[in-house]
Subunit: 315 residues, 2 copies
C-alpha cells in the first residue's frame, strides 16, 4: 500500500512514527511544509523537514517536542552574550550541523529536494521525504503589535518564536506560493498513492502552504475518496502550537469539526479525538466519514493506534 | 604613544598581548588581514580578526593555538557524521557564535569594520581592531596536487586547512586587492601613529594581502623610519604555520634576514630571534637596524619582552 502524507513538523513527526510501523519506508512519501523555512544568521533552517527527520530518524526530544535528544546550546548561549537580541531562534549545537550542511549544499547548487533527501538518508529515515516545493514560499503573519497597536508583517518564525505569538493576527499570506512549483515527485506521489493522509498539523501554517502551491490542492481534491485527515485540534484547542490564534483570522473554526469542514473538498474521512466524539454527526453531515480515538500520541504505540484508526476509515 | 600594528592571526595575537601591556588600548590600532576570510556553510568566518580578538579578549586556547578555551566541537562532529567531507574547517561551538553574529550583521547591511569592532568590543578588547578592508580580498594559492600533479587554484583555507598544505605551491594571488579600498581608519592610523609595528606574522598570506590594498604599502613606506618588524621566521622556519612553503614561491628567502629584506622599503628596524643573531650584520647592511632576543612567546611576559625589544629599536 502506497501512502502520501502531507505534513508539518512536530505533530506530523509524532504521528508518522506510528504510520511507519504500518507502511514500510519506501511506500511512504511525506510531503512536508517548507514555508516556515527561515534564514537565520545566514543559515537555511527548515524547521518542519527537520522535525520530521528527527522524529523518524529517532533522534527527537519527546519532552521538548522540537529539536534533538542530548542537545546542547553552547553556540546559542554564547551568541546571546555577544548579542542578546540575535539569538532568538535557539539553534542547538547538534541541530546546527544540519543547518550548516543544508546551507553549504544549497550554496553549492543543490536543490532543497536533494538536500532534504540527503539529510533524511543520513538520519536513517526510510520514508521518502519531499519538500512541498524547491522554490521560496514564506508564510507571513499580518498582525497588530500587542502593546503599541502598530501593524506588523512578520515571517512566521518571527511571529511564533521571536515574539511568542503574542500579537493579534489579522491575516496570513503565503508569499511566493503562486509562483512556486511543486517539488519533483509531489504531484506524482499524490496521484499514485493508495491512500493520502493529512497529518495532525496546523491547517494554517503547515498544511495551508502546501495546498497553496499550484497543482497540489487539485491533486489532493482529485483523490478525495482516498484521503483521510487527523485532527490536530482537540477539545477546542491545538494539542501544541498556536493554531487557535491563526485559524480565526482565516475563517476556520477552532474545533475538530471546523478543520474537517475546511478540508471538505479534499478529504472523505476524518479522525478526531475521543473528547470531540460529539462532533462526529456534524462532520459526517459534511459528507466526511468520521471516527474518534485517543489522538494524544504520548508514545509510538499510541501513534500507531491513531494511524491504524485513520487508515481503517478508508480501507 | 600611538601605535599601529599590521597583524595576521595567532603569531600576532601572542605578540599583541605583550604590546598591549605597554601601549594602552585606545592608543593601539591593529590592522588585521581579512584575505583569509572564508564563507563556510554560508557563515562568514574571519580567522585572523577572530584570532586577534580571542587572544586580546583573553579567551584564547594557548595549547591549540587557534580558537577558544573550553571549546567543544559538537556541531562539527555531528556535521562530520552527516557528511565527512563537509566539516573540514572544524568550527567550535563557541566560535560558531562569533560567525553566526558576523554573518547575521553583514546580511543586515553592516560593514566588516563595524562587525569586527562590535565583536572586539563584546570580548573586551581595548585596542582598536580594523580589518584591512571592508571589501572582498581573497588569497588564492596556485599549486600542483601532490599526488596527481593536477594544477589547483585554492582559497588559502582550502590549501592550509582542508589539504594540510601538502600541495606544491607555484604562486600566490590576492584576488580583489587591486579594487579594494582600505577600511575606514587604516591609512589615517598609519599616518598618525608614533610607531608602526609589523607583527611576527606570515609575510605572504598575512602581511602581504594588507600591503596589497592600494595605498597601504605607500602609507607604511612613508613612515619607514617609524616602522619596526618582528620576524616570524626563526632558525630558517616559521614558529608556526606554513610560511616556509609559500615564501619560496614569491621569492622570499625562508630566513629572518630574507623577510627583513622583503620589507626593506617599509621598515627601518627588525627584531629577530637569538638563534638568528648571526644574521644581524646582513640585515643591517640593508639599512635596517637589527637586534635579537628570545622571540618564542611562551607566555605574556615573554611577549611583553619581545614588544619592548622591538619598540626599543626605534625609541
Amino acid at each position: 500500500m502506497k501512502v502520501a502524507a502531507l505534513a508539518g513538523g512536530i505533530g506530523a513527526g509524532k504521528f508518522l512514527r506510528g504510520l511507519t510501523r504500518i507502511v514500510p519506508g519506501p511506500d511512504l512519501t511525506v510531503i512536508v511544509n517548507v514555508a516556515d523555512d527561515v534564514v537565520v544568521h545566514g543559515l537555511h533552517v527548515s524547521p518542519d523537514p527537520d522535525s520530521v527527520t528527527y522524529w523518524l530518524g529517532d533522534v527527537f526530544d519527546r519532552g521538548r517536542g522540537w529539536g534533538r535528544r542530548n542537545e546542547s546550546f553552547r553556540a546559542t548561549q554564547e551568541l546571546r552574550t555577544i548579542d542578546p537580541d540575535a539569538a532568538w531562534f535557539g539553534l542547538g549545537d547538534l541541530d546546527l550541523a544540519t543547518h550548516l550542511f543544508r546551507t553549504g549544499r544549497l550554496a553549492a547548487g543543490a536543490s532543497l529536494s536533494e538536500v532534504t533527501a540527503s539529510i533524511a538518508r543520513r538520519f536513517g529515515v526510510g520514508a521518502r521525504l519531499l519538500p512541498a516545493t524547491d522554490d521560496r514560499v514564506e508564510t507571513r503573519i499580518e498582525c497588530v503589535a500587542q502593546l503599541t497597536g502598530e501593524p506588523l508583517d512578520l515571517h512566521f518564525q518571527e511571529y511564533w518564536v521571536r515574539r511568542a505569538a503574542r500579537d493579534r493576527v489579522k491575516g496570513v499570506r503565503y508569499d511566493g506560493a503562486v509562483e512556486a512549483v511543486p517539488a519533483p515527485g509531489v504531484l506524482a506521489s499524490i496521484a499514485e498513492a493508495d491512500l493520502i493522509v493529512v497529518c495532525p498539523s496546523n491547517p494554517v501554517v503547515s498544511i495551508g502552504p502546501i495546498l497553496a502551491i499550484p497543482g497540489v490542492r487539485d491533486a489532493v481534491a482529485a483523490r478525495r475518496r482516498a484521503a483521510v485527515g487527523i485532527s490536530g485540534i482537540v477539545g477546542g484547542g491545538p494539542v501544541s502550537g498556536m493554531a487557535d490564534k491563526l485559524m480565526p483570522a482565516v475563517g476556520i473554526e477552532v474545533t475538530a469539526a471546523g478543520v474537517a469542514e475546511h478540508y471538505r473538498e479534499l478529504l472523505s474521512a476524518w479522525l478526531l479525538d475521543d473528547v470531540d466524539r460529539g462532533l462526529i454527526p456534524r462532520v459526517e453531515s459534511s459528507g466526511i466519514r468520521c471516527a474518534a480515538t485517543d489522538t494524544i500520541m504520548v508514545d509510538d504505540d499510541r501513534a500507531e493506534a491513531v494511524a491504524r484508526a485513520a487508515l481503517a476509515l478508508l480501507t
